[in-house]
Amino acid sequence: MAVRASRTAMQPLIDRIWSSKMTNYIIRRILILPIILFGVTALIFGMLQFLSPAERSALYVRDVPKNEAMMDAVIRRYGLDQPILVQYWNWLMGRIDPVTGNVVGGILRGELGYSRSGSQSVAALLKRRFPATVELALYTIIPIIGIGVTLGIAAAVNHNRWIDQLARVFAILGHSLPSFVLGLLALLFFYAKLQWFPPGRLSDWANNVVLAQTWNTYTSLITVDSLLNGRVDVFLDALRHLILPVMVLSTISWATYLRVTRSSMLETLRQEYVVTARAKGLKERDVINGHARPNALIPVATLSGFTIAGLLGGAVLTETIFDYPGIGQAAGAAAAQLDVIAVLSFTLLSGLILIVANLIVDVMYAFLDPRVRLN
């Protein structure tokens, strides 16, 4: 009976949660999630079907089968001649190897196949490359959001004045300059001419320090680990290598942040509560910082979710130009050598990161913006 009593006591609250549009929306999103995930894996698997069975054998074996007899044996052993739905299931879940009796493959088990350009398993490649990409993403997101948002707000507050025009021209220029051209120009000046910032992740001497026995790995982020190991010189060396890629990555993103912040802030400044705040005699600075800015930044929160997800998936061009050993560079190199199994895995991974980010951003958006919640 106690259960029933508490249930009735809770009922109004439960009703309210269930009837709210936001909960419906989130539940709908979560219900759709499996469909999207199925679609994404089906699309990737569909793209795999362009490959010959011999090429697809890289899902299970490291080396290309040498002759036709070996190829046939591999195809039969791993079921690459079976109906497409069976193959899809095997690709997802793995398959019992008829020779050894062990389960092999299966992307859900984390076995993504072998990268022939990286001559190791894709999972190992991902594991080795991911920390570098994370480190780059962490250092990039701060200037992107900080400078982009500051410029956008300055442009909106000074609408149609010179700051606005300048910011606008800057945004168009940033949008027009391809990242790889910008990156090469940065290397031209700061590396080839001035010798300030070399490409790569670490100098040779620092790399030797990191690979030595005495080095303790805590996070695999070199800037963090070097401080924990008490090596300020390695820390400075890592920073020196990060500056150019961070600069290039943030320059190409400022334009977007500037544009979004500017238009959102312009829209907010036209709202009635801003007029009210002004009418009751608040200082202009308080109106902008206290009333307008927090609401204007809601779309920016959404945007930054996608930016972080995009950066974690690897910045292919920037990492390639600066020879920065992250996921993006591995993807670019694999694609150039037509190592499809590896590129597809990278694409799948970044797709999954984006889907998760999308979900988080949507839920966050509903919490941040009461208009979405109450609609």
């Binding site: 469909i35 362009f50 090469l184 590396y191 061009l317």
Partner: protein, 346 residues
């Protein structure tokens, strides 16, 4: 400007001032909406620069055979090479082996022999020829990608909006699935898959870019059709008994698609950047094809000595940046003109 000047003088009434505005030939020919857009583009200094840049590149593309005559008439897109030496040569170096026909305009400079105006890449491909013919490649790529993404986007978006219900649900979920991948990485993957199937060339990246590029248009078209459907003129047409099909093709589609068409044409700039990015990574056209991205990719072998060989990056990079800048400047102006919230009294 004082307030007093606006007041009617005894000689003229308000009625006169209204009837004074003449509708010129151009406005009558284009219709009020097109005229407003055209006027907006041609009166904004930034977009005038954009229009000038675009016109310049289109002219270069049209007159490419006169500006840089091809050596191999059967394959004019293949850049001529001056020997096979590995080190790039600076701008102004003489052509040594088998120089192409000297173009007519070279007489103005008063020089005798034909030179590498922008220098050569490693492997002695002529940068000037590549940049001039690369303009054709860029326009071809931009127009093709936009045409096909628009066709797919319009098809999916309008089917979704007209049928609604489960058709809409399925098509929008498919759209979402295609949107789940980062554009460049997905295009890179599909081009890498298609290259062995259909061979090197501009088609693998083009198909890949179309496959992962239509979703935005499908969504915009769907939203626009849904909102146009509720407009008064559609209701009016329905009231006077116009057939559904006529309403759809005469009223809904033109009004819903027109803004997207104009804005889509402005995406040509970013398409060309994506194509160049894929080429830069080594996916797409065969070596020597006149294509800006590929020319820039030659610089990857010379990064420590870029200070000496700057021209491999700077000239094709400048072409790419100015081309995109042109489309973006016009696109930015168009966005302002067509955004109803920004419209002030006409």
């Amino acid at each position: 400007m004082s307030v007093a000047t606006g007041a009617p003088t005894p000689q003229s009434s308000y009625l006169d001032t209204f009837e004074m505005r003449k509708i010129g030939f151009v406005e009558r020919f284009l219709g009020p909406e097109n005229y407003r857009i055209l006027k907006g583009i041609l009166t904004n200094p930034l977009s005038v620069i954009g229009v000038t840049l675009i016109t310049f590149f289109i002219l270069v593309a049209i007159f490419a055979p006169a500006i840089a005559p091809p050596t191999n008439l059967r394959e004019p897109y293949m850049t001529p090479r001056d020997g096979y030496g590995p080190t790039p040569k600076p701008p102004g170096t003489e052509w040594k082996s088998r120089p192409p026909e000297i173009p007519f305009w070279w007489g103005i400079t008063g020089k005798e022999g034909w030179v590498h105006i922008f220098g050569t890449t490693g492997g002695q491909w002529d940068l000037f020829y590549g940049i001039v013919w690369g303009t054709r490649t860029a326009l071809k790529v931009g127009l093709t990608v936009e045409a096909f993404t628009l066709i797919i986007g319009i098809l999916i978006g309008s089917l979704s909006a007209f049928y609604g219900g489960w058709v809409d649900e399925i098509l929008m979920r498919i759209t979402e699935i295609f949107m789940a991948f980062p554009y460049l990485l997905a295009a890179l993957t599909l081009s890498a898959i298609l290259t062995p199937v259909i061979g090197k060339g501009i088609w693998p990246p083009l198909i890949a870019m179309v496959t992962f590029g239509w979703m935005g248009y499908a969504r915009i078209i769907r939203g626009d059709i849904l909102s146009v459907r509720e407009r008064d003129y559609v209701m009016a047409a329905r009231v006077i008994g116009v057939k559904d099909r006529r309403i759809i093709f005469k009223h809904v589609i033109p009004n819903a698609i027109y803004p997207t068409l104009i804005l889509a044409s402005m995406n040509i700039g970013s398409d060309v950047i994506s194509f160049a990015a894929l080429s830069f990574l080594g996916i797409g056209t065969e070596v020597g094809y006149a294509d800006w991205g590929q020319m820039i990719s030659f610089a990857r072998n010379w990064i420590p000595s870029l200070a000496t060989y700057w021209y491999i990056v700077v000239f094709p990079g400048l072409a790419l940046a100015l081309f995109t800048l042109g489309w973006n400047l016009v696109g930015d102006a168009l966005r302002d003109i067509m955004d109803p919230r920004l419209r002030r009294g006409r």
